[in-house]
Symmetry: C2
Subunit: 212 residues, 2 copies
């Protein structure tokens, strides 16, 4: 049953409007959340609102990799123990967090801030591709040609991801850098029976030496 938008209070209705503007939150859930907030101590609600406003107003992005950061340079870029010859290109901040959580990567990142998508009106100039090319170019200059740089394209496997990967690959072709992309195949623990044909097909073509 849908609520007929019959709110007993304008204030409540406005709060529900605001909360239901969040992705994946319907008006019913929004009402539940608004009434929950109403029952909380006033200072908690103020703290809740303030932490969101603070995030939006005061957030900064790393000058190097465009990752969310509290400093000019993020903790990953500032970490001298990480491999600065390995740049992993990702779409979003969340992707960085996901890869960091694997504990398997010790290079640095470059956050594009999106993906090339003509349908959504996102072109190369809306992303940080120019900054990536500039980073690569500066790094090569620094190393005076002796630097072995690798750029890993860790974008999604759909058409938009492939398009973006290809665009970046072309932009970097003028430099002497190794460009790689994520391994694709069956997930660990996946059952052959349930794999889609494309993934299974690629897994066979790109088969790897068995290392027990």
């Amino acid at each position: 049953m849908a609520y007929k938008d019959n709110y007993p209070s304008k204030l409540l209705e406005e709060a529900v409007d605001a909360i239901s503007s969040l992705p994946g939150v319907g008006r019913r859930s929004a009402l539940r959340l608004a009434l929950h907030l109403l029952k909380q101590p006033q200072e908690n609600v103020h703290h809740f609102a303030k932490s969101i406003v603070n995030l939006r107003d005061e957030v900064r992005y790393c000058r190097e990799c465009r990752m969310i950061s509290d400093e000019d340079i993020c903790s990953i870029c500032a970490d001298k123990s990480r491999d600065h010859n390995l740049i992993c290109v990702v779409e979003t901040v969340r992707d960085v967090m996901s890869i960091e959580n694997t504990g398997q990567y010790h290079g640095i990142y470059h956050v594009l801030g999106g993906i090339i998508s003509p349908i959504n009106g996102v072109g190369p100039s809306d992303l940080t591709i120019r900054e990536l090319v500039h980073r690569v170019s500066s790094a090569m200059d620094e190393g005076e040609g002796n630097r072995k740089l690798e750029v890993i394209l860790a974008l999604s496997g759909d058409v938009e991801g492939e398009t973006t990967s290809f665009y970046i690959y072309r932009q970097l072709s003028q430099y002497d850098v190794k460009v790689t992309s994520l391994a694709r195949g069956l997930g660990f623990g996946d059952d052959l029976e349930y794999a889609d044909e494309l993934t299974l097909g690629r897994s066979i073509v790109n088969r790897q030496e068995f290392r027990p």
Copy 2:
């Protein structure tokens, strides 16, 4: 896979902490929502936070029925065309909205603000039961004994709801009012096969005359 709470920014972490304090919102969803808000125009985020703070700071409750209201007296209590001899007692503001949405009720309400629950430390004095008794008593005095008042106990059917109903019933027994409760039985369209035994049993005992 759980996030290992490895946030790139303190501001982001604080916002995620705040958002994930909402019921039914995990840290993963909270991160998604925080990053969504980060991409919105600054004024939208300010408006979002402000509408929540406004609700908490400025909300009022109807002097009569304790329903959320922008005025001293809510629109339902102020509506002279409604039957003021019919008081429907409910647990929450949402219950009022649910019953209003049925379009089947034309009396007024009384919002308890909760339910008697010793486990959660909620006793009769934490609810608006005294106010309900006072309303009934005043109404009877006004009518000089000629008023036919009915109090409908529309509380949930669990032990706490039954306890609260019984407590209110006892409190009202000193007045000449009719006390009723919601009809319970199979839902419309329910299949006998899937009904629980208690509901089905009660449905048989409380069977009604067939009115085609």
